[in-house]
Symmetry: C2
DNA sequence: TTGTACGCGTTATCAA
DNA sequence: TTGATAACGCGTACAA
């Protein structure tokens, strides 16, 4: 297949290949030859060779999308938004499995594969990663971290944290399941502080790594010594972990303890009771990421786009 | 960046570019010039241009991985296995969102993008799709459907169905949540029949589409008229849907009704009670897919690889 | 062992 | 409007 080249078309149509090229790229062609080529191209099922095009144009229509993980509804939902907004690019997904070193590798691929740009779902913008990004001469857009040096799309963690914090403001003893700010500043610092700013009484903080297992474990440890009337986990999955721990400890939700999460993903509907959560519009984030990227191709500037969300009251509070 | 070409290296090293090319591809180079080029390449941070290489070689090291959906732990786990086994290829993920037409599009991309092969996660091998695959002149490996015309990796649905069916063999009234065999033959026919072959008493069958919502809905409908002591859903997510429906109907699990699922993914641990399920080793499936693909590159033949799994008893039965 | 010259498929330049 | 020709970066006969 696909062995038909522009030269074949030219021969069959009795014109020069440069004419065919012009025809294909909307250059000036007489009506007569246009019809001729039209015919030939159609029944030859000609498809231009992407390699040759990219080699010539010194750039490709492929965007590297660097994601920390795929087994997360937030990530896949953003990818769906990207796909939906995508006009005519190829999205090359590079999964880094939450490993910063693999992010480096992925960024290197940009040069090697001649990618036309990068969309990075960031959890941890280390200096090395930032340097590597700045060294690229293609458009870069990031998501997840609010770094003024980059064009970025973020969710409104201040709004989200405040909203949840506000509902739980009068809890007498709250447990917050957070993440290390060093590893995710937006969640571990911004979202966290938005929550605590609303709380009026005592609260404790424990740290997990976004996983179900760890969240469950740290919750169990915390419950060993203290009773909490409210648990706020900074992600839905971690909230699910807390839920399991509470169940093991025979604590009723929401009668004895209220539980809150963040994200509004399938997980919050999967567990029982369903988790009251702040739902972000991740699909919109994906769409905006693509639009922002296309805009960067035209005029690079560190624009910031914030996507909001809504508090969804379910059964866990 | 990446403007350094093989010619630049050649100039700086004072040799011909063909020598550099040989150096890069392991051809015969004298020790003297090798050291010279070594030096230059190193501090020039040279990276070969993938487009030029692919154009020349008429093939690329990029494999198109066509997946029906990304928001599924089974799929992402297989992708992880693929990544892990991957030696030196680029995996281009093409999400079809469970739309057969998009599968067609994806297969077309093979020619357009000059992909070196295809790995297809299949749910529904329509004649059109099969034709399109056969028309390709690159290696093709499929997963999910046991079609003797293709090299394939499948999970052992006979084993799995029998195992679950065996445990539930003596249930007096069983509800099976299946899927349309027209849409997924392996699950809707093979897995289904393996289950029913073990059942000794009465059973009803309802159909859903792999989603939580639909499974929940059809279960609720079924429960409206009948009481079941066992519900077998052909996937974990659908089992989760059944669980929610049962909860709404105030049916206790497992006291009143036992629930079974298939997959062994995170979902079975996320819901409460945890679902007793047949766990497939999807990671191994991914690894085998890659190895099988590499083998097809050397010697094409419709090999079949079957990956087993284990029955995991949890709390739902 | 090394270098020269050409071709992969496409686009761009420049005459005609 | 058209066509011949030169590039893009790389690999590889072939000759030296």
């Amino acid at each position: 297949m696909a062995k038909i080249t522009i030269t074949d078309i030219a021969k069959q149509a009795g014109v020069a290949k440069s004419t065919v090229s012009r025809y294909l790229n909307g250059g000036s062609v007489s009506k007569k030859t246009r019809l001729k080529i039209d015919q030939v191209v159609k029944d030859a099922d000609y498809k231009p060779n992407a390699f040759a095009q990219s080699l010539k144009k010194q750039t490709s229509h492929t965007i590297g999308v660097i994601v920390p993980r795929l087994d997360s509804f937030a990530q896949t939902e953003m990818l769906r938004g990207l796909d939906a907004a995508n006009q005519d690019d190829i999205l090359l997904i590079l999964n880094t499995y939450q490993d910063d070193d693999l992010v480096q590798n992925a960024i290197e691929q940009v040069d090697i594969l001649g990618l036309g740009g990068v969309i990075l779902f960031a959890t941890n913008l280390t200096p090395t990663i930032k340097d590597a990004l700045h060294a690229l001469d293609v458009p870069v857009v990031i998501q997840g971290q609010n770094d003024p040096a980059f064009a970025r799309v973020i969710v409104d963690d201040n709004l989200a944290g405040s909203a949840i914090g506000h509902v739980a403001a009068n809890s007498t003893n709250t447990l917050i399941i957070s993440v290390d700010p060093q590893q995710d500043f937006e969640v571990g610092a911004v979202r966290y502080q938005a929550v605590t700013s609303q709380l009026t009484k005592h609260y404790d903080t424990v740290y997990a790594d976004f996983s179900l297992a760890t969240a469950k474990q740290v919750t169990t440890q915390a419950l060993a010594t203290t009773r909490y009337d409210t648990i706020i986990a900074l992600s839905d999955l971690m909230a699910a972990g807390a839920l399991q721990s509470l169940k093991n400890a025979n604590v009723n939700v929401p009668e004895d303890t209220s539980v809150y999460g963040f994200g509004g993903t399938l997980i919050s509907d999967l567990v029982s009771p369903n988790i009251t959560t702040f739902a972000f519009d991740y699909f919109a984030v994906g769409q905006q990421l693509y639009h922002l990227f296309k805009q960067q191709q035209i005029k690079p500037e560190p624009t910031k786009i914030i996507i909001g969300g809504t508090l969804v009251n379910k059964q866990s509070n």
